[in-house]
Structures are given as C-alpha cells and as structure tokens.
C-alpha cells in the first residue's frame, strides 16, 4: 500500500501538465463565477459605501439588505452558478479522462486531449452512474435516518438524535469514499482495456469491493492526506490579513495554491488506482 501511495505521488509529479490542465480549468470556473458575482455585487451595492467597506468590515446588515432587496437577482446568480457548474462538470469529465490517459502511459499533451475525447462517452456514463449510485445511497441513508429519528422521537436521551445523525454522516462518508474508489478504478479500467460504461463500472465495483483490499484504504489515506493539507491551509490562511489589498491578494493566491494541490491529489489518486491495477504507466 505504501509503495502504491509513494509511486502514485511520483507519477503525479511527472504528469504535471495534466495537473496544470485540471487546475487551469478549475481556475477558469472560479474566474467565471467571480466575474458573475462581481457584476451582481456591483449592481446590487450600487456605489454604496459597502463597495469599499466590505474589504475590512463584513457588516451583516449589508448581507441582510442584499438578501432581502436583491433576492431575486441573487437567485438568478445562483441559477447561473448551477448552469455554469453543470458545464464545468461536463468539462471536468473530459479533463479527468485526459489526466487518466496521461497516467496510463500515452505520451504528449495533444495525444492526452485526443484520447480523452475518445473516452468521453464512457466517462460521462461512469460519472452519471456514480452520481446515481451516490444519490440513491445518500437518499436511502437520509430516509433511514429520518425514520429512526421519527421512531425515537420519544427517546429519553438528547444524544439519540445526534447519534443517528453522526452514524448517518459516517455511513454517508464511507459510501462516498467507496463510490469514488469505484469510479476511479472504473475509469482506469476503461482507459486501459476499452471496456464500456456498464462493464467497467461492474468490474470496478467488484475490484474495489472484493478483490483488491487495498483500494478503499488507499482512497482513505489520500483523503486523510488532503485533510492534513486543508488544515495547514486553514491555519496559514487565518493569519493572512485580508483587510488590505496586498493581504487579499496573498489570500487569493494561497487559495489557488490549495486548489493546485488538490488537482495534484486527484492525479495522484488516479496514479494510485492505476498502480493497483498494474496498468502500464512507463511511457
């Protein structure tokens, strides 16, 4: 497990162009929504002093007035964000395919982009299958938790409801980690063997769930790695003074550093999955 973890990191570093492509696409998403938010805030705040004071003073009255008096346009902004989110998800499906092609050994960015496009229909199917699996699983957990809460409404302990919520959240996290593991392995398998959506997903389900005992623990290890970095990001982020122009700039750059790291982590996860499947990645 340790070898896969370490070699995956090395492969991810070597495939830095793929990391960069993922990051730039993500940055584009951020810039798009930042621009939309800027336009909305500029219109809603309408040359008020808040356009200046929000830098140093997060006055909640400003947000109350924005919410109350500009709620309709804010909803439009949210709908726009949902639409943009959907587009970037569709784009992300392709770019993840590009990263996996890079991991699986094909040479050259142009080739990665091309091969990624070939894999797109299968990968979109896998993303939809994963989303459906997650929705059904989380929905079932929610219904079960609601039913348990309902049946224990007369419980004499306040902790009953929190216990149900805590166990439900833990199960939901486990389900998401397992699902992400299956999704990664299905994509790697499809890229390596040309398997279609259903076959790749079924194969990955069996691989991650039964045949390869290290698959889920490795995902967990990667999640833990990401969490450690997130804590470090927050710790440093809290001491950056955002109440000035330079401080704000540093804070924004620090946030992008976190996202760059996250893209590296994603490619790392693909590389670890490829290693477990013994996919040729020597090119």
């Amino acid at each position: 497990m340790g070898r896969s973890y370490a070699s995956g990191f090395a492969v991810a570093l070597r495939r830095w162009p793929a990391v960069l492509v993922l990051f730039l696409a993500n940055l584009l998403a951020g810039l798009t929504f930042t621009a939309a938010s800027w336009l909305w805030l500029n219109a809603a705040l309408d040359r008020s002093l808040a356009t200046r004071t929000l830098l140093t003073d997060l006055d909640m009255n400003v947000f109350v007035d924005l919410f109350v008096h500009h709620g309709e346009s804010f909803r439009t902004l949210c709908h726009g964000a949902a639409g943009a989110g959907a587009l970037f998800i569709l784009l992300g499906v392709w770019l993840n395919a590009v990263a996996i092609v890079a991991i699986c050994g094909d040479a050259g960015l142009r080739n990665w982009l091309h091969r990624g496009l070939d894999l797109y229909p299968t990968y979109l199917g896998l993303w939809l299958a994963t989303a459906a699996f997650n929705a059904i699983g989380l929905g079932a957990l929610f219904v079960a938790a609601r039913a348990l809460t309902h049946w224990t409404a007369q419980s004499t302990s306040e902790m009953t409801v929190y216990g149900i919520g805590g166990i439900g959240a833990a199960l939901a996290a486990t389900l998401l980690i397992f699902s992400a593991t299956v999704h990664d392995h299905a994509r790697i398998h499809s890229a390596a063997t040309g398997a279609g959506t259903a076959r790749a997903y079924a194969w990955a389900f069996g691989f991650a769930g039964r045949r390869e005992k290290r698959a889920v623990p490795l995902t967990l290890l990667l999640v833990a790695t990401g969490s450690v970095v997130w804590v470090a990001y927050q710790t440093v982020g809290m001491v950056i003074p955002t109440g000035s122009g330079p401080g704000l700039t540093v804070s924004l750059l620090w946030g992008q550093a976190l996202l760059l790291w996250r893209m590296l982590l994603r490619v790392w996860a693909f590389a670890v999955a490829a290693d477990l499947q013994n996919v040729d990645k020597t090119a």
Binding site: S37, W38, N61, A180, L252
Partner: protein, 651 residues
C-alpha cells in the same frame, strides 16, 4: 337555580383589593396584594405520567370588577386546540401539521370538563361552545356558561369545575416528550370581563393569552421521582404511599399557572437581589447552566435598574427535555422555558437570548398584562426591544452571534426578521388576523422593536427607557391598551410624539431614505452674453485662476411614506466633511457645493439612528464605486465555487 354563592356587594374596585387582602390573610405565604386579584383559583390535580393526563378539580372565585352585571361566564379550554384537525389552531397551521399529527395517533390533546357546579348545583349541561373570532363551529377552545342570576358589579362567584386534561405531544408550548412534560393552559380558565362583555378569544396559531390577576393555590400529585417546577413558590411537599408525592404551590398576583415535570431534571439554585432562581436543567446541559444563570442574573438586574424591581420571591427556569423543543421559549408568571443543545457554541447565544427574552416577559406580559390576543405588540414588541438592549449591554458587539468572524447584534437580527415581511400588516392588528405567521412575527416582534429603537435614538438621553419605566410603574398589574402606552410615553418625554406613532403603528408604511445622486462637475468660466451697463456684451471671458473648481451635487430622497428628520454627511475628496440636517418631509432634498474639492461620498443617517430604515444599502452613495470590497466578496465566492466544482467532478 340555586346559585347561592353569588354575593352582591357594592361596586368598587377597592372591594376586589379587600378580597385580595382577605385571601392574603388566609394564606400566610401571600403578601399584601399588588394586583386586583379578580380571578382566584384553588386547584387540586393528579398527573398520570404514563397516560400524560391531568385529572383535576378547581374552585374559581371570580369577582366582577366592572360596572356591568355579568349574565354569563366565559372560559378558555386552550388545549382543545390540539383535540383534532378541525380546531382553528390546527386549521391555521395547515396540512403539514395535520399530517404530522396523523402519524402520531397519540399526539392529540384536550381538556374535557366533567362537571361544573355553582352552589352545589350541576350546570354542566349549560356549556355552550363559542367561536367569537371566526366561523369555525368545530373549534372547542371557548365555552360560555349562562347564569340564572347575573353576577352584579362588585359581586363574587364561586365555580367548581372537574376536568381531565390529556396533554398533546408537545409541539406548541404544552405537552409531553418522553418523561418530560410541560403543563400550560391546562385547566378551564375564565376570560376577562370588561365593558359589559367577555374578552375570551379562541386559541389561534399566533395568539397568546389574556387573563385577570389573582391568587393560584395549586396542589399537584405527581410520580415521586418527578422533579417539578411551577409558577409561584413551593409551600409544602409530602410523599404518599402509592409512589406519588403531593406538592403545594402558591402564586399571588399572577394571571396564569404552569408547571413542568421530568425525572431527569437537575436542580440548580441561585439568587440575585433576594430573588431565588430555580433552574431545572437537563443532565446533558448542566455544563451550560452558568449561561442561563448569568443571563438571568444580568437581566433581572437590568430590568430592576431600568424599570422597577422584580416583585416575586422566585423565578423558575425550565430547560425542556429531548423532543420538547416545542415547549422552549415560553413565558408564564414567575416561570420561563428556555432551551439549548449539548453542542451549542459559546458564541451562539441562543440560551442567553431565550433567557433574557422570556425573563423580560415577567414585566411585559407578567405584570404589565396587556391583551396579547388583540395588541401583542405591546408585550412581544416592547419586550423584544428591551431584550435587544439588555443583550447588547451584557454581551457587547456580536451580542447574539459571535462565531467564526460572524457578528450579529440585536438590530441586525430584528432587521432581518422585519424585512422578511415588512409591508403586509400594521402593528395594531389582532394576532390571528395577520397575513401569516411570518408577518405576525416580523411586525409584532421586530418592527415594534425597531420602531422603539429608532425612537430611542431620536429622543436620546435614555428618554425612552425612562418612559418605559413610567409606563411600567403606572400599568403594572393592570391591563393597558396601546393608547395607554402612547400616552405614558408622551407624558414622560414631555412632547407629543403622535406624528411618529401615527406613521408607524397603525399603518404598514415603511421608512426608507436614500442618497440617489452624488455628482461633481468642473466649473468652467462663464460663456455667452453678459448683461452690463445696459447692453449685452459677447464672449464674457472666464476668470483667470490656477485653481480648478467643482460643483458638487448630492440628492437625498425619501422613498418610503414614513417621514423622519435625518442627518446627512457629505465627505469631499480633500477630507473635509459637511454635516447637514433635513426635516425629511418632502420627497427629496438637494445639497449643492461649489469649491476646489469634489464630493467623494454622502450618507444619510450616518450614525444608524434609524434602524427602522428598510434599506441601509441605499443610505450611502459614492461618486465613484469602490471595488476592493466587491473584489473581496466576489473572489471568495469564486473560490468556494472552484472547490464545489472540484468536489463534483471528483465524485
């Protein structure tokens, strides 16, 4: 009919006071009467914790304090609001509630009158259910009882009632949740007789209560392991042979009696200024007891300093059990319910807020006992204002929420609530006639608080607080109306504030001032013809000067119907400041300046002295928009969006 206990006396308010004195002598714990003591109850009740029923017998001694004979009596049976889906209360709640209750077949509750006797004669059959507020003939929360012989002015009547109350599953104030029970509105309770008719409204979704003061002498038999908190003071307690115990409580000069029981309660006693504080807290919340007690002590001291002493010997604070959140945040005389959760962060001052608010009701409801059905703003609104002042005084900036950099104080919270439904209803409206719960809450609680906050800042020098103190002193242990409040305020501040009250109390008009123009244009030399020496001269040259000059213009508009005098602050690019004052009466006001400096920005009401203003954003305007504040927020939102996209693409 043999209504021999009707005793005629000459009419006089003093009679009721004398009767109170007589009752005081009969019960050693009762001090000299503070109130008229019109409705006095002696209740003996037994609680069945398994069935959640209270079986009781009450003897009501009622005095007619009016100039009119009372030909009938009128009682509330509040818990019948939870009897079925046909009550006005449940109808007003809507289908969701009904569905919920249908899922809980044991969740319904009621009060059933088994027998009514006057002078030993059973007159139960005379009960007539009434629905004075709506056309719902299925509502059973009010009944009338015609009398053979009217109760004369100044007369007294004894009524014996046997009843059984089934507690509902607690969702609104009263009921049970596991072994916890909160028992309020649990006995047949007489209405208020005034001006020749009964003021006895149905129990609605948005209504609370209205009752006369009196003495409550209540004996409760409950399971021995139950820890009980109740209105008044415990006089005696003894264990019975059947696993029960009997508790005797007495409360004088109050207008309701509620109690709570839970074997899990931990009891913590404290005191402040001679008032015992009796906290009944859930085991999981013991580590937060200091939060309740600190808030209670501070609030009692502030209320004492600002308005007058808390006159009762004890205050009981009840922390409801799991599943009992429906009983949280309620006030009864000398007893309040609060609430928290085991995870409640210190910066989220939910327990403190509820303690301060419900404790304030001991003044604004408990003692100054206005009609909550008809003029709820008088208690909920005034109390919300006072709550905000106390919270801000005790906890400072971020008094309600101070958590992870987010700070919310009283004005922000009240503005948020008010603005959600600012323009549907006026403050003066019967509680059940508001558009919906949201409007009731927004206007009754928050608008009133903001109206008073704005007035407070307008008057300055604590004048409003002194006026509230005068109002309290004049009307405690009485039933004031809105006009009484306004008169007390006018008298105290020494001016007629009708111009303000007429705009904000009986109407749904809003207050909104805005800076709508901030411009500066360079002033060039004169051009065109000049009038000089009786003829026209062409091409008047511009005066030579090395200094640029600008004409700055600021326009302030009144966008709402409410008029207030306002301050306007205008800041120029050389740092100079011009402070202007406008009476705010016309639709707009223009301010113009000519000089070497350009206007940079202008703000109306720079000190935020008008929290009633519905839009702070348009209170200021810059000549050129700032960007850094927008960049901070927009880039942060963009960053969150990036993380969301990262998460969703990585599923």
């Amino acid at each position: 009919m043999g209504q021999g206990t009707i005793r005629s006396r000459s009419w006089a308010a003093a009679v009721t006071v004398m009767t109170g004195l007589a009752l005081a002598r009969a019960t050693p714990a009762i001090a000299e009467p503070l109130s008229p003591r019109i409705a006095n109850y002696r209740i003996e009740a037994t609680y069945d914790a398994g069935a959640h029923t209270v079986t009781g017998h009450e003897t009501l001694t009622w005095h007619n304090p009016t100039r009119d004979a009372a030909p009938d009596l009128c009682f509330h049976l509040y818990l019948n609001a939870f009897a079925n889906s046909d009550s006005s209360f449940v109808r007003e709640l809507g289908e969701t509630w009904v569905d919920w209750l249908q899922l809980h077949p044991h969740g319904w509750g009621y009060t059933f009158v088994k027998a009514i006797r006057i002078g030993g004669v059973d007159i139960t059959s005379r009960m007539q259910f009434a629905h004075p507020d709506d056309d719902n003939t299925d509502d059973r929360t009010v009944f009338r009882l015609p009398l053979d012989v009217p109760v004369r002015p100044g007369g007294t009547l004894d009524v014996d009632i046997e009843f059984v109350t089934q507690l509902p599953s607690v969702l609104a104030r009263s009921g049970y949740a596991g072994p916890f029970a909160f028992v309020g509105q649990w006995f047949p309770k007489i209405g208020v007789y005034e001006d020749g008719h009964w003021n006895c409204h149905q129990y609605h979704l948005t209504t609370e209560f209205f009752a006369d003061f009196g003495v409550y002498d209540v004996t409760l038999t409950v399971p021995r392991d139950g820890v009980v908190g109740a209105t008044g003071v415990l006089q005696a307690s003894h264990d019975n042979n059947d696993g029960t115990k009997t508790l005797h409580f007495v409360a004088a000069d109050v207008h309701d009696f509620a109690w709570s029981i839970d074997p899990r309660f931990r009891t913590i006693d404290d005191s402040v200024d001679g008032t015992a504080i009796h906290l009944l807290v859930q085991p999981g919340h013991v580590d937060q007891a200091d939060r309740y007690l600190q808030a209670a002590r501070a609030a009692i001291q502030r209320d004492r300093d600002w308005f007058g002493a808390y006159p009762y010997p004890q205050l009981t604070i009840v922390d409801p059990g799991p599943g009992g959140s429906g009983a949280m945040g309620m006030e009864y005389p000398t007893l309040i319910t609060v609430g928290t959760a085991w995870w409640m962060p210190r910066g989220v001052r939910f327990p403190e807020l509820m303690t301060v608010h419900e404790l304030g009701h001991q003044y604004w409801y408990g003692m100054v006992a206005n009609n909550e059905f008809e003029e709820a703003w008088l208690d909920e609104g005034i109390n919300s204002y006072v709550e905000g002042r106390i919270m801000d005084t005790i906890y400072g900036p971020g008094s309600y929420l101070d958590w992870f950099g987010l700070r919310v104080d009283s004005v922000t919270l009240q503005r948020l609530r008010y603005l959600m439904a600012a323009q549907h209803d006026p403050m003066v409206r019967r509680a059940w006639q508001f558009l919906d719960r949201s409007s009731y809450s927004a206007v009754t609680y928050s608008k009133t608080a903001l109206v008073l906050d704005t007035l407070d800042k307008y008057l300055g020098d604590d004048a409003l607080r002194h006026a509230l103190a005068a109002y309290f002193q004049r009307w405690r242990f009485r039933h004031p109306h809105g006009t009484d409040f306004l008169a007390a305020v006018n008298e105290s501040v020494g001016q007629d504030l009708g111009w303000y009250f007429r705009q904000v109390i009986p109407t749904a008009q809003v207050l909104d001032y805005a800076v709508t123009r901030v411009n500066a244009a360079e002033v060039h030399g004169s051009a065109g013809y000049a009038f000089a020496h009786g003829h026209m001269e062409e091409g008047t040259p511009a005066p030579e000067s090395g200094e640029r000059r600008y004409r700055s213009e600021v326009v302030v508009e009144r966008l709402g119907a409410v008029r207030m005098p306002v301050d306007v602050q205008i800041v120029f690019d050389d740092g100079t400041v011009s402070n202007e004052h406008w009476d705010g009466r016309s639709r707009w006001k223009r301010f113009e300046y000519t000089g070497p400096q350009r206007v940079e920005w202008a703000v109306v009401d720079p000190q935020h002295t008008m929290p009633l203003d519905i839009n702070y954003l348009n209170n200021s305007r810059m000549r050129e928009s700032g960007t850094r504040g927008i960049v901070r927020i927009a880039s942060r939102w963009g960053f969150w969006f990036q993380n969301l996209v990262y998460f969703l693409t990585g599923l």
